[in-house]
Amino acid sequence: MINSNEELLNLYRVMLTIRRFEERVVIDYHSGAIPGIVHSYIGQEAVATGVCTNLRLDDRIISNHRGHGHCIAKGADLNRMMAEMYGRKTGYCKGKGGSMHIADFKIGMLGANGIVAGGLPIAGGAALAAQLEGGDKVVVLFFGDGATNEGEFHEVLNLASIWKLPLIFACENNGYGVNTPVKYTTGLEHVSERATGGYGIPSVVVDGNDVVAVYDATKKAVAGVRTGEGPVFLEFITYRWRGHFEAPGMPDLRPVEELEAWKKKCPVLRFERALLEKGIVTKQTLEEIDVQVMQQIEDAVNYALESPLPAPEDALEDVYSA
């Protein structure tokens, strides 16, 4: 369904940007430069990329605690993202949000959310807004398999179903809610069966490590949602390479062999190989893209480092809007 090499290279560039951004964030977190809590998106890059490259600027997304990839794929500014991680005044949220709460309303990124399933009702409201506006805007809701055990998940599936909301449920099933396997927390083969069996929402299970498969499935979903067919549930099967969050003392209880097997299915390398095998791109072009991406990340870190920290009393601002 992707016709131009340009589109394919764009997918590659977005995916690689997320990977390089996340690698740098992990390093800077462990060096102490980035405070707080960081949830790495490494391993899941194909999902954010394949989904968001199907969206227009005026389409809206809602993200979660593992949200850097969604922001980047929706077109967020890397400098302001990195500045937010670094707690700087120039960050997206003026240093008030950090890693888990990046938002850019101007590009339709209505915010990452630190509470599992907390953003789901908000996405329902954003989709209702799109419906009331009467255009063909869509809303994409990113959440993990863990969120599907929360009550808010079921409430919003129901609302989306009865109101035929223009909402795409983008479930990133990475196999674990923190350290608990989805096989233990879910009595079904796929969490998407809850949406289809319980709420009559059509669903598709997609290889979340194949960016083209993600792109194609989303393209079809977006087309249907834009024409008023109601919500769609996409379950992307994927895996995170890092622990639930970056924490020195936090044990990762997942089997090592399982992690290694998934690393062999790396979404970035897999796509890179496909591009090379089909002769769409040369090794040299890919290396050039990598150099450019690395420079962007370096620039973002420098922007963050050169930006001022907020004044302590800035804490008093923005509690209320004027």
Binding site: A103, G118, P121, G125
Partner: protein, 317 residues
């Protein structure tokens, strides 16, 4: 002036503001017939009994340029959606650095007195007052209901309107012409010289009812209605205490961790006002029990006029 009920005043406010701004949307399990008839099903939307979803949906609507009004009905049902109130609605403006506005009104009834028992009777405003990012109105008269509700709908923040269950049918003067009431202005309902009595919601009316009896005993009370709790008009209360030198706060919410405690603290933390005090301030509040069902117990759990009078006499010593 014409008289209408507290509930009619709320309906009028909604009707006028929905006509004024076509970005307003109403979400509730029970549909207000007048709004539905004039504005249709899409804007006056019926919801399933699914509090988290519609309390949260209002945030998404607001962040997308709409101005939702949500009728949660009883405050006890609001607890089902606490994540959306506390973690989401209250914090979202701040967390995102003020880049978007979230104009939302959440209506909830509070109070007791109808034998509805513990899960349908509560006055939880101090819990929400402890959450920065929310504004809170507590209208006690039809006039205030209409004026504060119109201001709430025009405000660019999440506003919770706590409406006492026993006041719905109460009539009061409400002008035909347009008006709004700014937040953060307490009203002196009765002027007096000996004791400042800050009284909330229905207790404001109960306190006004003892003014004459107190006068017979030679005690002149000044009755203040805060009208809004966030923001809270501490200045009007302090100015009154500076004059009377005595303070009683009357509220039917449980006494521990109460708005009454906060009001007394605001007064006594001000060194100048503290020096004016002739006696220790006193709270006349609900007992620390879930609201019981059977009338004798329920009445016992809530302050009544005798409790209010005793409280006032207590600060005269």
């Amino acid at each position: 002036m014409r008289k209408i009920t507290y509930e009619e005043a709320a309906s009028e406010a909604l009707l006028e503001e929905f006509r004024r701004d076509d970005k307003t949307v109403h979400l509730s399990t029970d549909i207000p017939p007048d709004l539905r008839q004039e504005f249709g099903e899409a804007r006056i939307r019926q919801t399933p009994i699914s509090e988290s979803s519609f309390v949260g949906a209002a945030i998404g609507l607001a962040g997308s340029g709409f101005r939702p009004v949500v009728n949660v009905r009883m405050a006890t049902f609001g607890f089902v959606a606490m994540d959306q109130f506390v973690n989401q609605a209250a914090k979202i403006t701040y967390m995102f650095g003020g880049q978007a506005k979230f104009p939302i009104v959440y209506r909830m009834t509070v109070g007791a007195s109808k034998s509805f028992a513990a899960q349908h009777s509560i006055s939880p405003y101090s819990m929400y007052m402890n959450v920065p990012g929310l504004k809170i109105i507590l209208p006690a008269t039809p006039y205030d209901m209409k004026g504060l509700m119109k201001t709430a709908i025009r405000d660019n923040n999440p506003v919770i309107s706590f409406e006492h269950m026993a006041l719905g049918a109460m009539e009061g003067e409400v002008p035909e012409e347009e008006y709004t009431i700014p937040f953060g202005r307490a009203v002196v309902r009765q002027e007096g010289t000996d004791v400042t009595v800050v009284a909330l919601a229905k207790m404001m009316h109960e306190t006004l009812a003892v003014v004459e009896d107190m006068k017979q005993e030679g005690i002149s009370i000044e009755v203040i209605d805060p009208c809004t709790l966030a923001p809270l008009d501490g200045e009007t209360i302090k100015a009154s205490v500076a004059k009377t030198g005595r303070l009683v706060v009357v509220d039917e919410a449980c006494i521990t961790g109460s708005v009454a405690a906060e009001i007394i603290t605001i007064v006594i933390e001000d060194t100048e006002i503290f020096r004016c005090l002739k006696s220790s301030p006193k709270r006349v509040c609900g007992l620390d029990v879930p609201i019981p069902y059977s009338p004798p117990m329920e009445q016992y759990a809530l302050p009544d006029r005798d409790n209010i009078k005793a409280g006032i006499r207590g600060v005269m010593t």
